[in-house]
């Protein structure tokens, strides 16, 4: 139980253990822990940064989406207006075309009617002349006769 040389042996051993711990054990562990601390800090920072970026881009996306929707609505509006206009124009054109065709047809009919009437008159006068010739027994001058017929046609009202 008394104090003896063991005390110094213990002191030397203790001092050596302290030295080894101080020189070979503490620094590498501390270094690794510091490094990890730094890495974690950096990781957290990066996470925060990307969170912000995410928020920003989400906002950006929302903006763009809204813009796109707006544009789409505008385009649809335009298209609708244009469609209405085209339809209106189409209607107009069709009406005009119909009118034109109708008029053309009426003209044609009128023409036909006139030429038919002329032909009828000519034939009638031919027949009339032949009849008159038979009655008079005498040739009528054809040139005079034609002139007479033309005058007659011109005089007919409604030509």
């Amino acid at each position: 139980m008394d104090i003896n040389i063991t005390l110094f042996g213990q002191m030397i051993a203790f001092a050596m253990f302290i030295f080894v711990t101080m020189r070979y054990i503490w620094p590498p562990i501390l270094k690794a822990l510091d490094e990890r601390q730094q890495r974690i800090a950096e990781g957290l920072q990066a996470a925060e940064r990307s969170e912000n970026e995410l928020k920003l881009s989400q906002k950006h996306i929302a903006d763009q989406l809204r813009e796109a929707k707006h544009q789409a609505a505008e385009i649809i509006d335009h298209a609708n207006q244009r469609a209405v206009r085209i339809v209106e124009e189409g209607k107009d054109t069709a009406q005009k075309e119909g009118q034109r065709l109708l008029e053309m047809a009426q003209n044609d009919i009128e023409q036909e009617r006139l030429s038919a009437r002329d032909a009828l008159i000519r034939e009638l006068s031919e027949i009339t002349i032949q009849g008159v010739e038979k009655i008079l027994q005498k040739n009528v001058d054809h040139a005079t006769h034609s002139r007479l017929v033309d005058q007659l046609i011109a005089e007919i009202p409604g030509a």
Partner: protein, 265 residues
Amino acid sequence: MTEQHTITASEYIQHHLTNLQFNVKTMTFGEGGGFWTLNVDTFLISIALGLTVILLFRSVAKSMTSGVPGKLQNFIEVIFEFVDQQVKDTFHGRSILIAPLALTIFTWVFLMNLMDLIPVDVLPSTAGAVGIHHLRVVPTTDLTATFGMSITVFLLILFYSFKVKGLKGVFLEFFTKPFGIWFFPVNFIMRVVEELARPISLALRLFGNMFAGELIFVLIALLPWYMQWPLALPWALFHILIITLQAFIFMVLTIVYLSLACEDH
């Protein structure tokens, strides 16, 4: 102690509290060497435990990674950060010595105390079987081991006091505090007592706790076998707390004393 029934209870206790001693002068085993006696069991067991700590921590420190730690590294880191936190809480200066010192104290004292939980007869009986008649297993029940540490700590306190405050500062503090310059003899005596009380209380506290714990284990071992279980188990469980606590106290007090040595108060 069935095979030792021929010896009395007090002989049994005596036997457990006797060191294996080696006379350094005559180079023979046995008592009577006076100062030149080496407590071989204390010395070798404590060094073996210290080397265990050193090798374990060194192996981890070498393969230390700042990435994802393994289980062993994690365990070492927990101890490391626990000690580091204690040092940071108490000591505010910069020193490369104090934290490693605290770690050494905590782990080494803990392991030496832990020897107390090995059943009291296992190692001495094993040693007896190979012809070693005395073996005191727990180094911290030996005053030389506890004083060996506390005196080393005391020397470090002195070293840091002189290093930080200088010769003049230390003398000024010794003579003028706490009562001022005119009471310098009182101041000086009080300071000397205070300084000397530190290593003595450090060593005796640890020694007393571990010695008492070991003694109670020995006493329980004297009881009939059916009484040993109900007593030894709670005491062992309680002792787990004590050995950790004593290691912790030794460490914290060392940090406190060193931080006091490094700053004016």
